[in-house]
Each structure stands twice: as C-alpha cells, then as structure tokens.
Amino acid sequence: MSLTALIPLLLVQQAPAKTVDWDAEFGVEEEVRDPVTGELPVDPYDQSNTNAGAEPISGDRMAEQFGGQEGIRIIVNRMVDLSIEDPRIAAIFEGHDHVRLRRTLFEQFCYLLAAGCDYTGRDMESSHAGLGIRKPDMNALVENLQRAMRERGVPFGAQNRFLAKLAPMSRSVVTRK
C-alpha cells in the first residue's frame, strides 16, 4: 500500500479512550512495595550465604578497618549513590529496586568482611543475568567503591584485600564482551 493511501486511514482512526487501564488490559501486575521494608517483591529463590559469592575474610581486623556495620552501610550507600548518578553506568541501575540493592549489598559486604551479617540476597549470576554488564562497567563500579572506601579512610591495603574478594565474581557479573 502506498504511503498516501495510508493517510486517510490514519485520519479516521479513533483515538483510544483516555480512561483505558492499559496495564489491566495487558495483564500487567502492579508491583507494590512492601509497606515495612519499602522493597519490591522478587521471585522466590533459595537463601544461603553461599549466594554471596565468596567466603568471608578471616579475623575481625578488616571489619574494624571498614568501621564495622555502620561504616560498611555508609560505604555501600555512597557507592550506590555514586553509581546511579555515574553517566558511565547509571542506565544499568535504572528501573531496578535500589532499596533492595542497598540492603542486599550491605549484607553481602558485611558478610564478606566478617562484620556479623548473613547474606539473604540472590547469587551473583542470577542477580546480574541480562544486565549486559561489561568490563568497563565493572571498572566504573570499582572506582566508585574505591572512592567510597577512600572517603571513609579505609587503608588502601584493606581496600585491595576486599576487592580481592569481589574481583573473581566478575566471572558471574560481566556477561557481555
């Protein structure tokens, strides 16, 4: 059909009524945040500390150097704040549940640093499947984490010891060449 023939058809098309609930029409379920935690629901999964992707560091020296649970929470929140504003990687975080992300990341860091937490989040592979993360994205996140740790005065050697726990997880996180 030629383009000009289409024009009258377009003109007689009726505009859809404004009142139509398209989510309902297409069966989209509305996600409701948990009134207590403020998190969106996720599909069920097996909870286990092994989902954290590494064994905790031994001893409590590292937890101290990170300022205990309070320091770790500040570092995680700062890292997330930096990352969701970072033009290099912000788009990857768009539309994801930052409330849950902050909680699970805190648990994971706290668990890995042996600061007295259990990790209740998903494993690294399923958390990052389909996000299309590449190595430069990983580098950007590492830089943001380094900055958050530096601002809290975590000694560089301790920063690296923690990064040594995370670096091998790139195999589950970086899925796109």
């Binding site: 290099r88 990687i89 788009a91 990857i92 768009e94 996000l131 299309g132 590449r134 190595k135 430069p136 994205d137 990983m138 580098n139 950007a140 590492v142 830089e143 380094q146 560089f156 050697g157 690296n160 010891r161 990064l163 040594a164 670096a167 091998p168 790139s170 195999r171 970086v174 060449k177």
Partner: protein, 299 residues
C-alpha cells in the same frame, strides 16, 4: 640519524582513535555504551618499557598499551631518558592498543656514547640508534579480574633494526637486525596489593640490540628471563623492582639489568616514572647505574 616524523604518526593515530569514537554511537538498546576511553583502572596499561611495549621500565609485561576498553582503540606515547655515568640513553615511542587484546608499538632508541665515543674512536658523542617494531597479543587471563591465580598471559614479537650497522659489525655482532619473542604472565594480586610479572624472552640481542645481534663467533638465540614485583601504595602510586637477564654473545661482560622504580599516575592520562637503574657493564664500561625518567601519556 634523523628522528622519524613521530608527530605526524601521532596525529594520524589520534585521528583513527577519534573516528572510532564516532563509530560507537551504533548501540540503541539499553544500556548505552560505556566510555570506551579511559576505561581501564589507573596504571593497568603499564608504563612503556625501553623496547616500546607496555610493561615496566626494562621488563616487558603482559599488559596491553592504551586505556581503551575491550572494544575501542587506545594510544600510548612515551619519552624515556636514562642518565648513566658514561652514556646517555633516550627513547620515544608510540603504541596502539586494540580492544585490550592486541598492541602494536614502535620505539626509537638513541644511545649517546658521549666521551666514550671519542675513546673508542667512533667520535665524541656518537649516537647509536635503533628502531623497534613490536606486536603483542593477549592470549588469556585478566590482570585484575577472574580467577585469582590466573594471570594475564601475552605473547609478543619485537623486530629491532639497528641503524648503525658499521658499529655492530665492528664489535663483532653477526647482524644489525634481530627479532625477539616474548611470553609474559602478569597479575595484580589484590589480596597483597602486589603486581607480579614473569617474562621469557628469546633473543639474540646484544645490549638490547644497540650492539647488534648474535656474534660472528657464533652466539645465537638464547632464552632470557625478565620480571617485576611491585607494591601498590595507592591507586596512583606503585613502586617495585625489575630484573632482566641478558646474554653475553660478544664476550664484553654484558650484565643483567636491575631497576628500582616508582610510577605515579598524575592524571588518568599522564604517568610519570622515576627509577634507579643498574645496567651493569656496557661496551666494557663498568657500573652503568643512574636515573631513569619517563613521561607517558595514554588514552
């Protein structure tokens, strides 16, 4: 010898890099492409070794030049100066990194014999020159990520063309050109903040090729070792030691090389290195120890 038109080379390489940048706008699906430039963590492109390849100062590493991601093109250029008691060494070069997979490098080495030139009867301040063309391919592994015990592994080839064939023949070298083959493994051991490198080099070169290759008396290829161990004090500062073994094809008492270096990433694009280098005996002049200085820009 006249210096090659390095500025022209640099200009055309920059043009290639920027046309590549323009070609990056093709991805429409989220997430948008990350910055393909300055995509590496600080210092992980290495400094520029005397042969022009990414590495330490005297040792070749498995690192790939340039700050590009695993897609873009990167560029690295350096100037190095080594002040020795009896000689002055100077080199400059460029290297392109392709997708953090391959590196192509070129370096021009100029070795000024100062007063030794007069003593040896080749002329006061006679300068030995050499061109080094290199290629390196990353085979496996990752400097920072992946399995902790799996280093980044690369193979390299360096074709060296000494431009003073009369001198290399006079000292008894068999050739004025030669090709080195390298095999390197390098890893940043994060848990200890240590960067470790081990490289095997198959070479005929006498004093890195500045005194030619092999010997008319029969010295051919030999397998040499070079390596580095460095401690990362901060994202920007790394200090360490390097070693490079060398053959003595000419029987002039050629020594292994050592250095003690500090590299500082002033910005993402500028790295300054200062080292104390011990190059041993050169052309029978003993104890050539001195300061190594390098400025490197990388994109």
């Amino acid at each position: 010898m006249k210096a090659p038109p390095l500025t022209a080379l640099l200009a055309s390489l920059t043009a290639i890099a920027s046309s590549q940048a323009a070609a990056q706008g093709d991805e429409t699906a989220a997430p948008p492409p990350p910055a393909e430039y300055n995509a590496k963590l600080l210092l992980t492109n290495g400094i520029s070794a005397v042969d022009g390849a990414s590495g330490g100062g005297i040792a070749n590493w498995a690192t790939i030049a340039g700050r590009q991601s695993d897609r873009g093109f990167g560029l690295q250029a350096h100037a190095t100066f080594i002040a020795l008691p009896d000689f002055a060494y100077q080199s400059q070069g460029v290297a392109i990194g392709i997708a953090d997979r391959m590196e192509l490098s070129y370096a021009r080495q100029n070795f000024d014999t100062l007063d030794v030139g007069a003593a040896l009867g080749i002329g006061q301040g006679y300068t030995l020159n050499q061109d080094v063309y290199g290629a390196k391919l990353r085979l496996a592994g990752d400097l920072v990520y992946g399995a902790p015990h799996m280093p980044q592994i690369a193979v390299g080839v360096q074709h060296k063309r000494n431009l003073d064939g009369a001198i290399t023949a006079a000292v008894g070298a068999a050739h004025d050109t030669g090709t080195d083959f390298t095999f390197s493994a390098t890893k940043l051991v994060l848990s200890r903040s240590l960067l470790l490198d081990a490289t095997m080099r198959l070479t005929k070169a006498n004093q890195n090729g500045l005194l030619g290759f092999g010997s008319v008396a029969g010295g051919g290829y030999s397998l040499q070792f070079e390596g580095a161990a460095a401690y990362q004090f901060s994202r920007r500062l790394v200090t360490g030691v390097e070693f490079r073994s060398k053959p003595d094809n000419l029987g002039l008492g050629e020594d292994d090389w050592f250095d003690l270096f500090a590299a500082y990433a002033v910005t993402r694009n500028l790295t300054l290195t200062a080292a104390y280098a011990d190059l041993g005996s050169i052309a029978t002049f003993e104890d050539q120890r001195g300061a190594f200085l390098q400025a490197q820009v990388a994109f």
